[in-house]
């Protein structure tokens, strides 16, 4: 338990140092609030902002989670298809890249036109598109990284492709999948917030940010940014925990523990 706490000391230390530095810089150089508000000012803005920013964060976070789930699922499915049929891989990869390189700012109006401004699906789908590619490309590599001898073993059991996928390729792809998930988790929040800049319900972080920035309330803007970060870090930690639980066998997790 103490050892566990000790793991967090560096992170907390950096946090304290960073905040102190931030505050000092703002004070010493007398930086105006609209360029960079001081941490104390942001903290002071929290109680006032809370009733508005908290529900907005929850709404955004849920959309991000929904998109993350959808995009990850589709990414894994597509990767499974691509790993199984080279034809799919050759044809679908360029398309996946195409979809992914579509900047969110244009996905937003298209998604609004497709699903409706007010439909939660427009945000979920934008996030899913954004998340899809990192998951798929990592998973394709992961699914195809099984060693020849393991394949031979499965072949000797006349394992069919489904068994191969479930018992060999998917577990073997776990190191890739968890890396992809970490990237995807971060992307999902960016995606959701940027999408919300382009309309939809007003009780969302993206809208909150535009409103407060437009009103020059940058302390409030930063409360939203900090909340988004907190959610992002939480999601990341959750993934890391699951990773440690289910991937303790992998050398990269063992190596990280030392």
């Amino acid at each position: 338990m103490i050892a566990r706490l000790r793991r967090w000391i560096p992170a907390i230390g950096v946090f304290v140092a960073f905040i102190a530095l931030w505050e000092a810089v703002v004070r010493v150089f007398d930086i105006q609030g609209f360029i960079l508000p001081a941490p104390t000012a942001i903290l002071a803005a929290f109680p006032g902002a809370w009733p508005e920013v908290w529900p907005a964060s929850i709404g955004t976070f849920l959309s991000a989670l929904g998109g993350l789930a959808l995009g990850t699922t589709l990414g894994i499915l597509a990767a499974a298809g691509a790993a199984r049929w080279p034809m799919v891989r050759d044809g679908a990869m360029p398309l996946a890249i195409t979809a992914n390189s579509t900047p969110i700012i244009v996905l937003a109006p298209v998604a609004n036109a497709w699903f409706g401004l007010l439909s939660p699906w427009s945000t979920i789908v934008v996030v899913a598109v954004l998340v899809f590619f990192p998951v798929m490309i990592n998973m394709v590599r992961g699914l195809l990284s099984t060693s020849a001898s393991e394949l031979e073993l499965m072949a000797s059991y006349a394992a069919n492709k489904r068994t191969l996928l479930w018992k060999l390729q998917l577990p073997g792809a776990m190191p890739y999948m968890f890396s992809a998930l970490k990237v995807a988790a971060a992307l999902s929040l960016i995606g959701a917030i940027v999408k919300e800049y382009f309309g939809g319900s007003q009780a969302r972080l993206g809208q909150y940010l535009t409103l407060k920035a437009g009103n020059f309330q940058f302390e409030e803007v930063w409360t939203a940014i900090l909340l988004a970060s907190a959610f992002g870090i939480g999601l990341y930690l959750l993934i890391t925990l699951v990773e440690r639980r289910y991937m303790g066998w992998h050398v990269s997790v063992r190596a990280a523990k030392v």
Partner: protein, 336 residues
Amino acid sequence: GGDDDGGELTPVNLQLQWFAQAQFAGYYAAVDQGFYEDEGLDVTILEGAVEIVPQQVVASGQAEFGLAWVPKALVSNEEGAGLVNIGQVFQRSGTLMVSWADSGITKPEDWADKTVGNWGFGNEFELTAAIEKFGVQNVNLVAQNFDMEALLNREVDAAEAMIYNEYAQVLEATNEATGSLYQPSDLNVIDFNDVGTAMLQDSIWVSEEWLASNEDVAEKFLKASFRGWMYCRDNPDECVEIVLEAGPTLGTSHQTWQMNEINGLIWPSPNGIGVMDQALWDQTIEVATSQGVISADPGSGAFRTDLAEKALADIDGDTTGSSWTRVEVTLNPGGE
């Protein structure tokens, strides 16, 4: 009075609220026609985007001049931006609430129990003021994108639209039922100038601090800009061309429409272009304070007319545009 000391131009930046379009034609024309150069200024026009707040850009010193709506700039000032309005270019508000003719929304009270779109970003104050002013109940406010999809898809019952831009976009869209463009008769329009909650829009802002030592630059900038706008009043088609050059992807008929409507927001300028109309200022402040947009009257220091007046004194030609008349513009599909 040009600068005589041999072509040493003073570089300054102008931050727009949005990307190049006829809304900013006067400034582009002033660059194109060399009006700024005449004043010894080298003006770089910085285009805007969704997330750009011109007040922030000006306050942080990235641009000397910024365009902003009056209420938005006043909000910024309450947060310490320290900006001064030195030229009130638009004399009236260009904001409309557009709804379908069959929805029967003809006055603010009809918004009750309806879904009403707005842009946020400080562009919504006229709407919220009207809602309050008429005591409209149960308005479901949603953020609309900067296109008119929400209205076209009937996701919202009424949508915010600028007369020079989004309103035109609806009229450039094809009615799939008839196969031809939507017509003004398909739409009901509520004009905030009529509602009485109109607020002053595009105006030129500088930081107080900067202005203290640069009044001459400010005056020169105003002079050249006003000449640009006058040029666009008298030569709208040329100005449309200039704007099209700046943004090679814009629609021609759309910009022509916009030029015409923008001229309508500027002209006539009874006190001369850029000089604040105190009555409209007072209305803006009153609406803004009563809405809680700003907490208190900013007082008389928030705008100055002296610089604009001095600039006007230097300009030959019609600075009030009392004889300007609107022309008929035909919109093409897609604004082309």
